[in-house]
């Protein structure tokens, strides 16, 4: 006999950005082995079968890497477990009879599209402003002609594992995007390839970040604590340093 969990869900429903949203309560029976999103699949199947509209939520790869899933579960982005995305959170982390509150990422820079789906295009705009190395295809030299110390490669890699989900913004009391921006700036400023335009990059990205309506960082560390990829808070210190240096140089 397979174990079954009865979960009481309180889910944010909002038909579109213009109308006010509200919480709806549902009951779902689920296997402890199913993922949080599979539990939502069951809920949606129930809703469809009873003639109601299913809950809209973003998801795609369901293996914790695409960064699309985005639920605030009992007040915490991606739920109660450390370093786990919503799609990799399994129902065995909950108890039979639990009430679970599910809300969308909340930040003015991430407006709700529908239910639990939000618009995160502001992140793309930040990257478009300078989160790259300006190298056209075909310009590259042999990959091994540039020796990169393993420690630097590892630091860059750690920062580069950001999946752009936005949990940092949703956790931050200021809805600040500095962990996201700091991760990209750290990755590219650590590597020799990225040094040529590091000043221009950091200034452009911070300007874009401010323009998109994210708050300022107050170092509470909530972002790093909730980051499903464990991006360290130190990337924000690097961002501050890079930015200040660039500004002092007149960029």
């Amino acid at each position: 006999m397979e174990k079954v969990l009865n979960i009481n869900l309180k889910v944010w429903r909002q038909a579109n950005p213009e109308v006010a949203g509200r919480f709806e309560e549902y009951k779902v029976e689920t296997s402890p082995d199913s993922s949080f999103l599979e539990m939502f699949d069951v809920l949606n199947e129930q809703l469809i079968n009873s003639g109601q509209e299913p809950v809209a939520f973003d998801h795609d790869c369901r293996e914790g890497i695409c960064g699309m899933c985005s639920m605030v579960i009992n007040g915490r982005p991606h739920g109660p477990k450390k370093a786990v995305t919503t799609c990799q959170l399994h129902m065995r982390s909950f108890n039979d009879g639990d009430t679970v509150v599910v809300e969308p990422w909340r930040a003015d820079a991430f407006p709700v599209i529908k239910d639990l789906t939000v618009n995160r295009s502001s992140f793309d705009k930040i990257i478009a402003s300078g989160g790259y190395i300006s190298v056209n295809t075909g310009n590259a030299v042999d990959a091994n002609s540039m020796l990169i110390p393993k420690d630097d490669a590892d630091t860059a890699f750690e920062a580069a594992t950001c999946i752009g989900c936005g949990a940092c913004v949703s956790a931050c009391k200021n809805a600040s995007a500095m962990l996201f921006v700091g991760a990209k700036v750290t990755q590219l400023a650590t590597l020799p390839q990225g040094k040529a335009e590091r000043e221009k990059r950091v200034v452009a990205m911070v300007n874009a970040m401010d323009a998109e309506g994210f708050g300022a960082c107050s170092n509470t560390g909530a972002c790093a604590a909730e980051c499903p990829k464990g991006i360290p808070l130190s990337v924000i210190a690097t961002l501050n340093k890079e930015y200040t240096k660039a500004k002092m140089k007149g960029f």
Binding site: R106, A109, K173, A216, N219, A237, T244, K245
Partner: protein, 223 residues
């Protein structure tokens, strides 16, 4: 100087101001605390009064005082501005908040703690700074600053407010000390843990010394 405009316009620039002025104020606290600690010599305020006289008569200190007030005001107004603007970045609030799962309450309450400290500060300045600078109460030699303290701290409500002010300061520093370094871009495998330890010690010891003064005077340990 146009290139410094970012200190007023960008998110990181503003935070930089908070960190830098914060550290400046921390240095002031150290001096202030050192002079106040003279009361614990318990020589009827002789040492303390001498130090206080030096501070009020030395030209350089008086100039630095102007800087101190500018720094304080910058810290206060920039802080209040950030508090206000940051709180507007999420108009739809979460139904269920669990901030304590991912951060410390005092790190999220710097605006509130700072405001409490500011209220305390107004009272504190009225008690001593205004009295010593703008009345001839003390300069005329009727009374020393030490005697003024003994008088003010006779009132138990004043003592309570001072103690609460010091507690606010302690928590403000507990986050602010380390955070200032972080904002200034200092992060290091070895040094950051040291900075954090110093910050914690500073946040406990300095406010404790400050708080002990009104308590000691009120209870008559010092006279």
């Amino acid at each position: 100087m146009k290139f410094l405009s970012f200190l007023f316009t960008s998110s990181i620039g503003r935070k930089l101001v908070m960190g830098a002025t914060g550290l400046f104020l921390v240095s002031f606290l150290l001096v202030h605390c050192g002079i106040n600690a003279c009361v614990f010599v318990n020589d009827g305020g002789e040492t303390f009064n001498a130090a206080a006289d030096f501070m009020s008569e030395n030209f350089f200190i008086r100039v630095a005082e102007i800087g101190l007030f500018l720094g304080l005001l910058w810290h206060v107004f920039q802080g209040l501005y950030l508090w206000l603007t940051n709180s507007k970045k999420r108009k739809a609030k979460y139904d269920k908040a669990s901030g304590n799962e991912n951060s410390k309450w005092y790190s999220r309450s710097m605006g509130l703690l700072g405001t409490l400290i500011l209220i305390f500060l107004v009272l504190h300045l009225k008690h001593f700074w205004v009295v010593s600078r703008f009345t001839d109460h003390i300069t005329s030699g009727d009374e020393t600053l030490f005697q003024e303290m003994i008088e003010v701290f006779e009132n138990p409500w004043v003592v309570l407010i001072y103690v609460l002010g010091c507690i606010s300061l302690a928590y403000h520093l507990l986050h602010g000390f380390w955070s200032a370094f972080h904002t200034l871009g200092i992060d290091h495998k070895t040094y950051t843990p040291i900075i954090k330890s110093i910050g914690t010690a500073f946040s406990i010891v300095i406010p404790l010394i400050f708080a002990l003064m009104p308590i000691a005077m009120h209870l008559g340990w010092i006279s």
